[in-house]
């Protein structure tokens, strides 16, 4: 494991390559950010700092094939990405984490939470894709264009660097994977506390879909962040950190309670 100053860079070998993550250390539970399709943890840096300033242990991981992580052969497959996240949690090791997905990262986080619930204490789904009412390449592209004016201009170079790192084929592969996955079928099986976050001006995730996703989660809650487009972690990092901190305080019991077991906390 390699560490660097302030925000630490941590590299852990998983499966067929190294997985790189950034960490701003703090108190439990660890919050692990999972990025969207074609991008990387770059767009999470401002949020990592903001959550770190709230005193929480904040992580952002680059999925295999993206950002600084290794380059596996073949196109990205959602199921394999979720498996890698679970293996990476075991390898670090991290327990009782809260997975925070952004956009397509929500689909990865939900798949991981449904199939590997052991190490996952809760979910934060920021701008969960894909709205089943607009599942299609053209409609998603149209929504993406309509959303663009609500994002920070300074995010564009980061996106371009990410696309360059991942390569066109892998970026397109991730988008296709996001369209193939039906998150709405899995949400009812997430039995952990889950917070859905939507930017009030998000054109990719309309309010009615954010509400529907929340409704489908047995323990879901919705928060709307004002004056933000789809990429809330980059557009409004401080507001998102406060919203997440409140969710952790309310829904995720501190580690000390675990002595009583999940049954002991009921009622």
């Amino acid at each position: 494991m390699q560490h660097s100053a302030v925000t630490q860079r941590i590299t852990v070998p998983v499966r067929d390559g190294p997985v790189v993550a950034w960490r701003s250390p703090g108190r439990e539970p660890p919050v692990v950010c999972v990025h969207g399709a074609g991008v990387s943890s770059r767009e999470f840096r401002p949020f990592l700092g903001a959550l770190g300033r709230c005193g929480h242990d904040a992580w952002a991981v680059d999925l295999p094939g993206f950002g600084a992580s290794g380059r596996p052969s073949g196109p990205p497959v959602l199921r394999a990405l979720a498996d890698t996240v679970a293996e990476w949690l075991a390898a670090v090791p991290l327990e009782r984490v809260v997975l925070l997905g952004g956009s397509f990262g929500c689909q990865v986080a939900v798949d991981a939470a449904v199939r590997h619930p052991d190490r996952i204490a809760g979910l934060v789904l920021v701008g969960p894709t894909v709205d089943p009412a607009a599942r299609g390449c053209g409609r998603q592209l149209l929504r993406w264009l309509r959303n663009s004016p609500h994002e920070r201009l300074s995010m564009a170079p980061l996106n371009l660097a990410d696309y360059r790192d991942a390569g066109t084929r892998r970026v397109i592969g991730a988008f296709r994977e996001s369209l193939r996955d039906r998150i709405e079928d899995k949400l009812p099986h997430v039995h952990r506390p889950a917070l859905v976050v939507r930017g009030a001006r998000d054109r990719m995730v309309p309010q009615e879909w954010a509400e529907e996703a929340t409704r489908l989660l047995p323990r879901g809650r919705l928060a709307v962040v004002p004056d933000s487009g789809h990429m809330v972690p980059y557009r409004r990092p401080r507001e998102l950190a406060e919203t997440v901190a409140a969710f952790l305080a309310r829904e995720i019991a501190p580690a000390a309670d675990r002595a009583h077991g999940p049954e002991g906390r009921r009622g």
């Binding site: 309309p206 309010q207 009615e208 509400e211 529907e212 929340t214 409704r215 989660l217 879901g220 809650r221 919705l222 709307v224 004002p226 004056d227």
Partner: protein, 439 residues
């Protein structure tokens, strides 16, 4: 004078009449009256852009929209009670308002000059009453909540003291012998000044400010006046000489007497649904809907908080929501909602609508306060159709609310009409609400 031209479209009575009439024909309440729904999106965008204008410009636009909808004072004498009643029954609802608002244009009187307002329109009021012996005129002047609207006009609220012929004909044509009428009796009263026979002047109105604050002033009044750049720090209204049914909400007792006699003559049952203030009925109605959903074995965990004119009975049922109507956006109405939530099982979803009346009036709760109360929902608590930054001067609010409400996912079929038999028991289980036969 055509009744549709005389009656205000922005008033509670007309708004509820319209919502009910639309509901009975199986439709929701469009934001733009008769305009096609396809116009909603561009109009919403246009009005949203208007929100970026400076507050003073927006205030002026509100005032002018009021002036445009008011009638010139010289035409007040041409308003006919019969025409108003026929216009109402033309909507074919089963419940009819007892009060209508006829706004009258008036220029050159400051909102903070109630005596000047009364003097300016007294002649028009007398002419209107001379032509309509069955009407009682409540001239209402509220420089707190109607501040912008009364800049260029006066509120004439008209109450019937006798059941108008069109209402009689409507009941005879639509109610089977042995049928039952329900009179809605809001007992709210307010200090008034007698101007003449059947002519009352009411200063102030139901809201967060008390009659005492309106008549004697206080720190909140001084603060409002200073915020709006008025030289005065309290108002100087004509001295009240008694109390009367509140101009907008209260029932004129003479009408109930006439209705009782009419019901007796025609062998109809007459019940009175009584409550002290308009807000008092909301928890009872919410209980009724919740019980109804449970009886239909549907989830009863969605609450739709409606706000003044923003109410839509059709959308409430389509979205499977329990409706809770907040009279205004004031802090006391918000506290009323919080008290209702304390008194009932938790909701999973709470959607709150917020009506924009253009004025930072006394005791108005902020959009964020309403959002926090809505956030008491277990899963999602949101403001629907609200631009928190523009509230309470959001021009696009009406259109946006309608658009967003239409998008809420349907989850149950529309029900058969609710039978009245079990209704009194549910409604009267709330303190303050009575359902009794008329004596």
């Amino acid at each position: 004078m055509k009744a549709a031209r005389a009656v205000a479209s922005f008033d509670s009575a007309t708004g509820m009449l319209r919502a009910l009439a639309r509901f009975l024909s199986g439709r929701d309440v469009p934001a733009l009256g008769r305009a096609p729904a396809a116009l909603d999106a561009p109009v919403s965008g246009l009005l949203g852009a208007a929100n970026r204008l400076p507050p003073a410009v927006r205030d002026r636009a509100y005032a002018l929209s009021g002036w445009a909808s008011a009638i010139p004072p010289r035409q007040a004498g041409r308003v006919r009670a019969d025409a108003l009643a026929s216009w109402v029954t033309g909507h074919y609802p089963r419940r009819r308002p007892q009060t209508l608002l006829v706004p009258v244009r008036r220029h050159g009187v400051a909102p903070d000059d109630p005596r000047g307002d009364l003097a300016a329109v007294r002649t028009a009021g007398r002419e209107l009453l001379a032509a309509n012996p069955d009407l009682v005129l409540h001239h209402m002047h509220d420089p707190n909540q109607d501040r912008l609207m009364i800049a260029e006009m006066t509120y004439f609220r008209l109450k019937w003291s006798r059941l108008p012929a069109a209402y009689r004909a409507f009941i005879r044509d639509h109610l089977a012998p042995g049928g039952r009428l329900v009179a809605v009796d809001c007992a709210l009263r307010w200090p008034t000044t007698t101007v003449g026979d059947r002519y009352l002047f009411q200063f102030g109105a139901l809201g967060d400010a008390s009659p005492e604050e309106y008549h004697r002033g206080g720190p909140r009044v001084a603060d409002l006046l200073s915020r709006y750049g008025s030289p005065a720090r309290r108002w100087d209204p004509p001295a009240p000489d008694g109390e009367s049914p509140e101009a907008e909400w209260g029932l004129q007792p003479a009408l109930l007497d006439d209705l009782t006699a009419f019901a007796g003559r025609h062998g109809l049952g007459l019940d009175v649904l009584g409550f002290p203030t308009p807000q008092a009925l909301s928890p009872a109605v919410a209980d009724l809907y919740r019980a109804w959903y449970e009886e239909r074995q549907l989830p009863a965990d969605r609450l739709l908080v409606e706000s003044f004119l923003l109410l839509d009975p059709w959308q409430a049922l389509r979205t499977g929501s329990v409706p809770y109507w907040a009279v205004f956006g004031t802090e006391s109405c918000r506290a009323g909602l919080a008290a209702y939530l304390d008194s009932t099982a938790p909701y999973d979803e709470i959607r709150a609508l917020l009506f924009n009346h253009g004025t930072e009036s006394i005791g108005l709760a902020g959009a964020e306060d309403w959002r926090r109360t809505a956030a008491r929902a277990r899963k999602l608590g949101v403001l629907t159709g609200v631009d928190a930054a523009a509230y309470p001067r959001d021009f696009a609010g009406l259109v946006r609310t309608h658009r967003e409400l239409r998008k809420v996912r349907t989850r149950c079929p529309m029900p058969q009409p609710l039978d009245v038999a079990g209704v009194p028991d549910v409604l009267t289980s709330r303190q303050d609400v009575v359902w009794r036969p008329a004596t």
